[in-house]
Amino acid sequence: MLRVNNIQVVYNDVILVLKGISLEISEKGKVALLGANGAGKTTTLKSISGIIRSQNGELEEGDIEFLGESIGQKDPDEIVRKGISMVPEGRRIFDDLTVAENLVIGAHIRTDRSCIKEDMDRVLTYFPHLKIREKQRSLFLSGGEQQMLAIGRGLMCRPRLLMLDEPSLGLAPMVVKEIFGILERINREQGTATLLVEQNARIALHFAEYGYIMESGKVVLDGPAARLMENDDVKEFYLGVTKDDQKKSYSEVKHYKRRKRWLS
């Protein structure tokens, strides 16, 4: 459904952030994009959603194709209309607006007023926490509730593909678990394809069917999630599983640095 083809993204005309990223998501698929800070995960999502250009970035080479149509140079609002919705990093809810207004603004591209109400009720069945706070200003929600609101808002435009940028950011493990349970349900019941960017590799690989691992602007490893979880490097650097339980010495920390450049 979505095919990102060897894209190269430059900020401010000089800083090369993505050096040829390719990835693919099938209809109703669940894909995770993992990597350290600064690897270019968020930039990849921003390139797909088209807001990269308002942040001084530019798609220099390659192309992004959604449902057989090139969207690489389209404006963000057109891309939302095509059916791609993004839940940005750090929630970014409209904190001046009430919870209900946040949901309504999520449906901005739609004009069928009566169906919006229906969708709002459906979103609120996924996130019952929000139901009781519907009329409150969203600034006063807890972190978990804000994340739920951001996801709910992202669903209001009836997307074919939902992109989530670190939904677990700053949340308690219990809340993260709850949110991923709901994402699972949404994917199953609504058939919404999901592209997930995460730091928490364990939960991401449990959720996703397929995973890509990025490092300094490149995809260094990809494969079905189950196989990635078995990979020794992934185990060591992302899942924190080591074979020996001895404490690591400084030389091995350096080994980690050396080893981490998989294919480049």
Binding site: M86, R92, D96, L97, H108, C157
Partner: protein, 297 residues
């Protein structure tokens, strides 16, 4: 009612009338600042042009007042779209400071242009309102001022409903709150900016038309915007209710100070607003209803 109370009430009512005009002017500033973070220094010139265009329609074409006002509003709306498209859109992504300087340039340009087109002489605006003031138990108020209060209140009410319930209004609030995220909702930020400028210019035109009714209509009319500025700061740069309350407060204070002190200290009236501005900046630099982290311009 003794003379003293009556005098005070009279000042209060006149102050409210003047204040609702300030509020209207402040509203235009706030709308643009809230959505785009730009302080539009050409706002006064837009008011003046609103007044002048309406004057032209009334005198040269003898169109009835209602129609002249409506045509002026539509003109101001498109003037706003045009300004956004031609002058401000190319400045997207540039430092706010540069954009604000451009609005100062625009104000000088518009003032000179209006001088060339309409002439620098004083014009008498053919007021549609009755000359005889209304007398209510000894309190006097002109028809013009009553209409100013009614129309301002209606405009504010309409705007409040627009922002609360309409899809476009909601998207404007979204853009004001968080531009990037608004884009992710499929909102065309360019369109919202254009609409904001159009709307603010239309409100400026209404204020301009009313001002022409109570003041001499000439190039100096644009300076009223500077006088409304304390109202904007008092209410907070990004608060619509703040603009209303700030405008009314400044209007009332100015009239009351003028009423009691002008005999002893001529000019005290003109000073009041700026003394308030000064005090507000010292105590609450972000205004009564503003956010504490305001953008420096």
């Amino acid at each position: 009612m003794d003379e003293g109370t009556k005098y005070f009430l009279q000042l209060l009512i006149s102050g409210l009338a003047v204040g609702s005009l300030y509020a209207l002017v402040a509203l235009g500033f706030v709308l643009i600042y809230k959505a785009t973070n730009i302080l539009n220094f050409a706002h006064g010139e837009v008011m003046m042009i609103g007044g002048l265009v309406c004057y032209l329609l009334l005198t040269a074409f003898s169109i009835p007042f209602i129609w002249a006002t409506l045509i002026t509003l539509v003109f101001a709306l498109f003037f706003g779209f045009l300004t956004e498209r031609v002058i401000l859109r190319p400045m997207i992504g540039q430092p706010i400071f540069a954009v604000v300087m451009i609005t100062i340039g625009l104000s000088i340009f518009l003032r000179s242009l209006s001088g060339i087109v309409f002439g620098h002489h004083n014009k008498i605006f053919p007021s549609p309102f009755s000359e005889t003031p209304i007398n209510f138990k000894g309190l006097v108020l002109s028809h013009t001022h009553i209409w100013i209060m009614i129309i301002s209140a209606l405009l504010v009410l309409m705007l409040a409903l627009f922002f609360k319930y309409s899809r476009t209004g909601l998207s404007m609030r979204g853009v004001a709150n968080d531009q990037d995220t608004a884009m992710l909702m499929g909102i065309s930020v360019k369109r919202v900016f254009a609409l904001t400028w159009g709307l603010a210019f239309a409100i400026a035109a209404v204020a301009g038309i009313f001002l022409s009714n109570v003041m001499v209509l000439n190039i100096g009319l644009s300076l009223v915007a500077i006088k409304a500025f304390p109202a904007v700061i008092l209410g907070g740069l990004e608060s619509v209710p703040g603009a209303i309350i700030g405008g009314l407060t400044i209007g009332v204070l100015e009239t009351i100070v003028g009423g009691y002190l002008d005999d002893m200290m001529p000019g005290a009236k003109e000073l009041t607003a700026f003394v308030v501005l000064f005090l507000v900046l010292m105590v609450r630099p972000y205004g009564l209803f503003g956010k504490s982290e305001i953008e420096r311009v």
